[in-house]
Symmetry: C2
């Protein structure tokens, strides 16, 4: 897992080099069609990447996005009206049975289909009208890291190709490399969380998917019971469970979500609750019990990839501190064949 | 909370009597327009009702549904292409600031807007092109119960008015009354969970929203850390956190999700994990460590309301067993004003 985390700047760079022209052409083609809706279909970490993609695509392109409920197709055999939709399947292996079933069903309903996958020979690549490849090499760890950020990168390239304004995603590999510099600091920091059994992970907007992703990493590699929420939803109920022994981990970049992060951190201080922020804002860092500080010049729209990397390192080192091998989570397998 | 739970059969009956004609007319009007998309906007319990609404509407009408991310509008000021969309806000009080902001923005973008609320004088009722009222009377408990099922009922009436096939939702108030008969059994059952600190709540398809709703109830009224998952996603990571001391609560009706419930229960038995099912299927009941058995004649499509009522009772009695007043959760207020 640690090795695959470290490969990410190179994987991102390679993926841009190999795929950008294809994504630009695809964007040009799609802009010539009448598209009313983008549907994203995924499970697990890929679904967390899709949750990010949802915000990015809606905000930058103005096209409404729906995160698909695969059961609608696979259990209830619904045929949706998708003739003006683009349906994007996201799967590391390209072999998620239910995801591919949704893609096939959408294609039959007249949708244009795209697959984002790490495997060019997969069933997904055969079904989709167009395949966007992550150039990550084989991902051996059960915990997805480099394919998660590779999937996010494809959403950046696609959004940039569909939107009127370009997104400066070519800066991301460099930001990702800077995030890896926090490695030693994180290794020291995890000591404090060695016996943590529960936590809450919070993010909002562009970093909402990252909250789900870190929670999943903590569950699968550290057996920490990690709840995940939007800071907006957190005041609807879940706030009641916060206690001193129950740290709240926050993705809190400078930018649009800053006010809401600060409100939450102040409320946590009143409740004497423990907080840990991944941030690039001095005021947020100051209000947090613990923090990892990233470079100020990372704009919020570009923060999700550089912000998840310290979180991946945190999960990997915490597993080590807990005496667990993060590459072999109990009860899990790499490819999950849901039907 | 207990009193409001008990009022539900009457609230459901009254809401059908008062609103059905209006919903039928609305359905007729909407069937005459070209609708490509339904967007649902809500937070908290209302968002859990919307999660149910999403499955019901997609499966019965074939119109794709998107669960809105309010931040897209409120933090990032996105203007989405919604001229062929129906946007439905769901809010008990009708005063959720961000929900109303999304409704207003959608209306400005040319969407037809609907509000589902318990308050005819609310800001939501003033903004929406059409208001569907829950006839619940005032809901005093912070934990929503009768307005949650009232919102679900409106999705049934709306789906029935939009779909080609009718749905037999008029049976639901009677099923709801039968669910209340489990009261004494539940009061005894909660004893076993008095010192439960963590649990996982699982549901799928039509009962997926119920899994979120019970988890929220357990967090806000019992301070139990309740994770919520689809049984499909549960094999992607979260399964690793299941332990003997960590019960899994399952909404498991007979019907389309039965096979997946049985697979999960068998896997839990292998792991020696504890399970508690709300079910109307003998085989599922047999495979569970504990169960609440509902009438066999509740079809899966009609199960969500009769299945959430025993869960509401479970949360209310468990709070009592834990010595907590469920009507006054610490740190929470009834109306949450997110921006």
């Amino acid at each position: 897992m640690l090795q695959e985390i470290a490969e990410q700047p190179a994987v991102l760079e390679n993926t841009i080099d190999a795929e950008l022209e294809k994504v630009k052409k695809l964007g040009h083609f799609l802009r010539g069609r009448e598209i009313d809706l983008i549907v994203l279909v995924a499970r697990g970490s890929s679904d967390n990447a899709a949750l990010f993609g949802r915000y990015l695509l809606e905000v930058t392109t103005g096209i409404p996005v729906s995160l698909s409920a695969p059961s609608v197709y696979t259990l209830y055999n619904a045929k949706l009206r998708l003739n003006r939709a683009v349906v994007i399947g996201v799967s590391q292996s390209g072999e998620g049975v239910d995801i591919n079933q949704v893609l096939q069903s959408a294609k039959n309903s007249g949708a244009f289909t795209i697959g984002i996958t790490n495997n060019s020979d997969s069933s997904m690549a055969k079904i989709a009208d167009e395949t966007l490849l992550i150039h990550a090499g084989r991902e051996k760890s059960v915990a997805a890291t480099k394919t998660y950020t590779g999937q996010m990168l494809h959403f950046y390239m696609l959004a940039s190709a569909l939107a009127d304004e370009k997104i400066a995603f070519e800066k991301i590999p460099q930001f990702a490399a800077q995030s890896l510099d926090l490695q030693d600091e994180i290794k020291t920091l995890v000591e404090r969380y060695t016996f943590m059994e529960n936590c809450v992970v919070v993010g909002r907007g562009m970093n909402y998917g990252n909250a789900y992703e870190l929670a999943l990493k903590l569950m699968e590699t550290c057996y920490v019971v990690a709840e995940r929420f939007s800071s907006a939803d957190f005041f609807h109920g879940p706030l009641a469970i916060v206690e001193r022994r129950f740290p709240l981990i926050l993705f809190a970049p400078a930018g649009a979500t800053k006010t809401s992060s600060i409100d939450l951190l102040k409320r946590l201080q009143e409740l004497h609750a423990d907080s840990f922020s991944i941030t690039n804002d001095a005021q947020i860092a100051e209000l947090s019990s613990r923090r990892l500080l990233l470079p100020k010049d990372i704009e919020e729209f570009l923060s999700p990839i550089p912000f998840i990397i310290p979180a991946q390192l945190f999960a990997a080192y915490l597993a080590e501190a807990k005496g667990i091998n993060p590459d072999e989570p109990r009860s899990l397998s790499k490819v999950t064949r849901t039907i």
